[in-house]
Each structure stands twice: as C-alpha cells, then as structure tokens.
Symmetry: C2
Subunit: 232 residues, 2 copies
DNA sequence: TGTTTGTAGATTGTCAACAATATTCTGGGG
DNA sequence: CCCCAGAATATTGTTGACAATCTACAAACA
C-alpha cells in the first residue's frame, strides 16, 4: 500500500485525476485492459490508492478521448472498435498523413534526420532480433515523430487520438504482430518516405505514405477477419 | 403515454455530468462564456442546481475536448486560441474537408440534395434580411451536413472538434460576422461546391472547397489582426 | 417445467464535509 | 512611499458516506 502511494506522490505536480487517466490510458493502449472489459470504480481506486472521485473524472476524460464507453448506471467499458470504424479511422488518418508529408517535404531542412535514421536502424535491429513488439513500437514512433516535425499541435493531437483508437482495434483483433516480413516492409517504406521528404519531393512522399498506410489498413482488416471467423 | 415516457427516459439516460458538460459546451460555443474567463465550480454548481462533483467531471470532458484549460490548484478557464493555433487548426480542417468532398463526389447519389438546397436558400434569405448570425449558422450547418454525408463517424468527430475550437477563436477575435458580402460569397461557394459534388467532379470539388476554406482562414486571421491592433 | 416476482448484493450517481493550495488584504518596517 | 511578511479569504483537491439503480439468484405460482 505504501509503495503504491509513493509512485503517485513522486508526481504530485499533476492532479490525481490526470495521473489516473494517464495510467489507465497507458494500460488500455498497452492492451493490459482488453477492449470490452469493464472498469469498476472501487477496485481501480483501491488499486491506484485513490478515491472514486478522481477515477470518475479520469473516466470522463477517457470517454471524450474515445478510449472508453460509459453506460449510465451500468459502468464504463474499454471501447471496442468495429472493423468499419477502424476503416473509417484509417481513412481520416491517410488524409492527415498526406498533409504531414506534404508539409515536411515543403521544408525538409527543419527535420532532424539523425533522429529518424537512428529510429529506423533500431527498428531493423529489433526485427532481426525477433523482438517484434519493439520493432512495432519503433515504427509507431517514426510516424509520431513525423507528425511532431510539422510543428502543428492540432495536427499532432488529432493524429494521436486516431492512432490511439486504432491501437485499441489492434488489441481487439488479437493481432499480435508476428509477421517479420511486414515489419521489415514497413521499415523499408519508412526509409523511402523519409528520403522523398528530405529530397523535397512532396508528390513522391504523398504517394508513398498513402500506399504505406493503406497497406497497414488492409493488413489490419485481414488480421481481424481471420480472428473474427475463429471466435467472434 | 409515449410522450412522457420519452422525455423522462431521455433525461434518465443522460447523467448529470453529461448534462452539465453539454450546457457548458453550448455556452462556450455560443460565446456567452468568453475565452479566458474563469469557470469557478461553486457558482456554476449553484447556478445549475447540482453539486461540485458533476461540474468537475464536466470540466474533465471539456478539457479533453479542447474547450477549457485546467491549471492545477488555479482553476479552469475557457480556452483561448492564438492566431497561430487557429491557423494550424485551419490547416488540418482543409485536409479533412478535401477528404469529405472527395468521398461525396465519388458517390453523389447518397446525398440528400433537397436538404442542402433548403439550407442554402435559407442562408440567402437570412443574409437578405440582415440576420447575419442566422446566415452564419446556416453556413456552418452546411459544412457539418457535408461531413455527416460521408457516413464516417471518426471524420465527423474530428471535424466537429476542430470547428468547435475555431468558433472559440472567432469569439476571442470579437469577430462578429457583419460583412454581408463575405457571407453571400460563402453561400455562392457552397453552391459551387455542392454542384461539383453532385456532378461527381471530385477534382473541381476539392479545388473549390480548398479555396473556400482558405478564404475563411485568411479572413478570420485578418479580423483578428485588426482586433488585435486596436485593443489587445 | 417455464415464467415471474421479490429480495439480496454489487455498482454507479450524487452530495456535503474536510484538507491543501493559491490569492488577497493588511499591518509593520525600511 | 514602497516593499515585505503573515494572516484571512476564497477556490480547488480529495475523501467518505448516502441514495438510486442495475444484476443475479431463488422461491413461488401457473
């Protein structure tokens, strides 16, 4: 009990609700809280060492963020995203990423190339080692850094929200990334996209990112279809 | 029998926090709560006839929605959006609207043309009557219905969030729309965009919506610049 | 046997009181 | 006259308790 409190005490600068929200968000995005599962207030508040109030406030934030679904007098549940919803999210994401690479290609000088190269190298190393989760994390971070590079806060917020919901969908699909070839293909895509951006070739960058994200979309859809036939 | 039940049921379905959040959101978007002003819990809870708990929960939702800013131990304030932030939001909005008209133009049959025509006619009537606020509302609704027409829930959510933040910016700029010519120009733009969509001409629709939103962007920026020099 | 109804338990919804923090005001000193 | 320390006030942060609602189970009846 005391140990649990220290973890929260060390971060006293943030209010309790925001801490709880961050913790829950992390667990949801990591998949330790599976989509569809119920989040009961009392066990959570006991587990986190806080009262129900902050937990409820965190629920509100998570609901607005699209990570949980609240049913009055019933409870809150980790949001489940249907294949069509995921497809729609992907559609918006493509539009955003097109804007991202176009902006970056218009001014490639501002991009910290070393950071991206390091990220891509690490992704390949992880893939070689067979650590697919780490490789996937690198790939996700590559996209995120790309969006960060635009310097557009609204764009970054919007993008992250969509990606968060998509990761939710990936968990629902039980789609653990085990396919080394697709991971390597992603890294190769990323290299091509990056080079197009650095060359200032917006058209090529747009073409490549579109193909890249569309491939991810159809791949995820296929994975869910396979998982769906077996159980759901 | 059904009438009373539905009203009761609708009230029972929404929890107090969601009611409060909706009320506050309405007030913020309408401009009756001006950007930068503080929202104190006790007066609000007294005014709305509820306790502080629901109000706090509503604050969390509004914060995640980007309508208020929360400072720990200081209070919550209606969010103020800077010109650069507004510009960035507009940039994302353009990307979304491009997707919207492209999707609609790809399948114009699904669009309820009568609804849009009625909306445009009403907008012109309001402009002629000198009711600029109503005309502006019609124009906003036109865009919203366009996005609704895509049938993409994620796209609609994302779009509405951005538009909400932009309306916040308009209030900050004290930019009451009084310019009849720009309002009429917007209606004319809308007619052109709609006809391009109905003709299935995606390229023309994209070109026109881009010019249209970009015009709105620069106009809003100019209005704020003018207001900024005079007072702020 | 199947349905229904009542009851017990659990969970959420709401509230009012208490604690912690920030802001304001006031009095004294330089 | 200005500045600073310290109390007074106001506001937020958090908690525990109480009320309302839903769920699950079991007993009674057709």
């Amino acid at each position: 009990m005391t140990k649990r409190l220290t973890t929260i005490d060390l971060l006293r600068r943030h209010s309790l609700p925001s801490l709880v929200q961050g913790q829950l968000e992390e667990m949801i995005l990591a998949g330790s809280l599976t989509p569809g599962s119920q989040l009961t207030e009392i066990p959570l508040s006991l587990q986190l060492g806080v009262s129900r109030g902050p937990v409820r406030e965190a629920f509100r934030g998570l609901e607005e963020k699209g990570l949980v679904r609240v049913e009055k007098n019933r409870g809150v549940f980790v949001r489940t995203i249907s294949p069509v919803e995921a497809d729609q999210i992907y559609e918006v994401r493509v539009a955003l990423e097109l804007l991202v690479v176009a902006k970056l290609a218009a001014d490639p000088g501002r991009l910290a190339q070393a950071k991206f190269d390091a990220l891509l190298d690490k992704a390949e190393r992880m893939a070689s080692k067979g650590d697919f989760a780490a490789c996937h994390a690198c790939n996700v971070e590559f996209h995120d850094h790309l969006v960060q590079g635009t310097g557009n806060a609204a764009l970054l917020d919007t993008y992250r929200r969509l990606v968060g919901e998509l990761s939710l969908f990936r968990h629902r699909a039980h789609a653990r990334i085990r396919d080394a070839s697709s991971l390597r293909a992603s890294v190769a895509d990323h290299r091509a996209i990056l080079s197009a951006i650095l060359a200032g070739d917006a058209a090529a960058a747009r073409r490549r990112i579109r193909r890249h994200v569309e491939a991810s979309r159809s791949r995820t859809q296929r994975l869910l279809a396979a998982a769906g036939t077996s159980k759901d």
